[in-house]
């Protein structure tokens, strides 16, 4: 009985663990327009008192070069958007990746949103 209980606990912990990680792929990301760009990974680093983020974007198309813009929203502990970066234009050639790095200049930022806007063709 005790063994079964342990197995059940281990299983539920694993499910919770996997669940919490799988959810990260879409959190903090908002793609406006056609989804021709993929954000393969993104993470935040604490740089002194400021939050710095890194994201890797990929154009998976073998034929088309993609041009798009992105913006970062900086969010404080209350969930308020304190600041946004200007929209930045990026071009990614066929089947290539680009790494973007941004840092806020507000000391109380704890979260972020990456907004990618891809124009319609």
């Amino acid at each position: 009985m005790s063994a079964t209980k342990n197995v059940l606990i281990a299983l539920s912990v694993s499910i919770l663990f996997i669940g919490s990680f799988s959810g990260c792929s879409s959190k903090n990301i908002n793609i406006i327009g056609e989804k021709r760009i993929e954000i393969i990974k993104h993470k935040a680093i604490q740089e002194g008192t400021f939050l710095k983020i890194m994201a890797e974007l990929e154009n998976t198309d073998y034929d088309e070069t993609e041009g798009f813009v992105y913006q970062i929203e900086w969010i404080d502990k209350n969930g308020l958007i304190i600041d946004t970066t200007p929209w930045r234009a990026v071009t990614i050639h066929q089947n290539q990746k680009v790494q973007i790095v941004e840092m806020t200049n507000f000391p109380n930022i704890v979260d972020y949103n990456i907004i990618v806007s891809v124009p319609n063709k």
């Binding site: 740089e47 008192t49 200007p86």
Partner: protein, 204 residues
Amino acid sequence: MKTILTTSLSITIAALLLSGCAPKGGAGMVGYDSNVKYGDAKAVETVTADFGSTDLQSTAESLTQSLLESRYIAKAAQPPKVRLRAVNNLTYEHIDTKAITDKIRIKLLKSGQVRFLADTANLNQVKDERELTAAATANKVNKAMADSDYIITGNVRSIKKANDDVKDVYYNVSMELVDPQSGEILWADEKEIRKVTSKSTVGW
């Protein structure tokens, strides 16, 4: 007689209030159906290849980020006092370099990592104001205003090339943090911008 006068006056006031002052398009809106629209101030602007709002914003943003990461700002025991000096425009077009430095200053001040002293251009006004109230200790006051830990200077350069089909503009905005006592350059960084105008196709 008095009642007629009062009634007509009330009607006139009511008519004025209802007709003349009512804005077109609803409360708080004037010229709702005009051709003027408000846009996103942070949108990417590609009207011409000249130095534009997007270049100003991205330059200020990246140079501020770089400066905040430098150890003289990030690792300072207390926020250093900085004075912005002129950023020279070495291009052939008119660029308001003060707009770049003002934007950087706003961002740095919001970060709380840096304190700023008044620009040299505004220093006389500040001095006059202080002398009005602190004539007795004028020398001490002047010293406090002059004591900057660091100064920020810079240059904006451009290279333009064009043929019949393509116009290429390269901007380089470089800035440096200098210790005014030793003259040592403590931090320097640059922002490069390339803009290409093609006559055959329209850029997005």
